[in-house]
Symmetry: C2
Subunit: 234 residues, 2 copies
């Protein structure tokens, strides 16, 4: 059996928390499939720990999951990147749920969204639940934390439209949707903030067909919106 | 303070488990908003328990949530219903994740899907996580557990098409989609089972736009598929 010193174990377990992920620039990736994707992604792999090598008991302490993964990798975050306004991009205005962010990354990857921007108060992309829900899309899609109001202004200054989904916008199915632009998605409970809403020059709605539900889940709304943009230019 | 006898507490706590929900025909609904929806839904309300009345400690034992709800209702399941083949319906072939089923109910409600069928091995609709994720759609949408192969045969015998989403189907955006029919969605890991796939007379695909992701989450795929059917007949 390989051994892990108490000090190493402590450092790895610290990566369960955002504070230490921020400090170290490292995060955890769990499961055979995701670790294989990390290895082929070009992200720096610091260490791979296997249950077969360290034993079940130690793995329970290393893993963030309730049933511990057979393999956990310590992975280096990529350097922050930039994106010149252009292409079809998503801007997340305070999306807080890790499952939603992971699912949105997967949607963005499927539909070839060029870049995802997220407000600084959105959930951290290296949160283990985001990594898991992204099913590997985290290794392929660029996500940039930035001021969303500023990003909207940049897109508009580049002659592109900024789209927001609202309950009182125009019917997305009947709207003209360009090939490029910025699509803003809002917070789970409160939607798009007032400051960001003021920067959206196109207000869209996914029409309801008579049900009593007041809204759609943000990842579901993202999927329908991006699907509708993409199919127009297929 | 209202008191709850140990016996009553035991009965309510038993409803955290499927076995006792099955036996009693009762389930739990938590949170101000959902309990209000339950009350106005026509479902039978057996009892409403408020934190203000029973105290924080007791509520921690009654609630299924990690931060206990201010209010929990014991609600009677409606009698099993039937649905004559017709309208636009969903069939879930072994959808296992409670969050996915709740989200699918919410999507079905938003888009006015007529009925949802689920295979008996799908997650139970009265699971507290399904109730929560449905955001109240559980009180408005009919969900019937039944044999999906039989249901597909019934729809086809009624002259309607059965649609399945596959990785090798025809492009959904370019396909003819009727106003009525049955849309089958498959299991999170394995997709549509072979037996059910054999009953699908139309194979659809949501095309990928160049990303590396192998699939979409089942609730996301449901949203895009139903949106695409509905917009054609708006």
């Amino acid at each position: 059996m390989e051994t892990i010193s108490n000090n190493e174990l402590k450092q790895i377990r610290a990566l369960h928390e955002k504070k230490y992920r921020d400090e170290s620039g490292l995060f955890l990736v769990e499961g055979e499939k995701l670790v294989a994707e990390a290895e082929s992604s070009g992200f720096g792999i610091v260490r791979i720990i296997r249950r077969d090598e360290v034993g079940e008991k130690l793995m329970e302490r290393i893993s963030t999951m309730s049933s511990p993964s057979p393999v956990v990798a310590v992975v280096r975050k990529p350097a922050p990147s930039e994106h010149v306004p252009g292409g079809l991009c998503l801007a997340l205005d305070s999306v807080r749920d890790p499952g939603n962010l992971g699912t949105i990354l997967r949607i963005a990857d499927w539909f070839g969204v060029d870049c995802i921007f997220a407000s600084p108060d959105s959930v951290e992309v290296y949160n283990p639940k985001v990594v898991q829900a992204s099913m590997g899309a985290i290794f392929r899609k660029k996500l940039i934390y930035c001021d969303i109001v500023e990003k909207c202004k940049e897109f508009r200054a580049a002659g592109l439209h900024v789209f927001g989904t609202f309950l009182d916008g125009s019917d997305i199915y009947a709207s003209e949707l360009p090939r490029e632009g910025l699509i803003v998605m809002g917070n789970e409970a409160n939607g798009i903030s007032r400051e960001v809403a003021a920067e959206c020059d196109c207000r869209l709605t996914i029409p309801s067909f008579g049900g009593g539900s007041e809204s759609l889940n943000v990842s579901v709304a993202t999927a329908i919106t991006v699907s509708e943009f993409k199919r127009r230019w297929k």
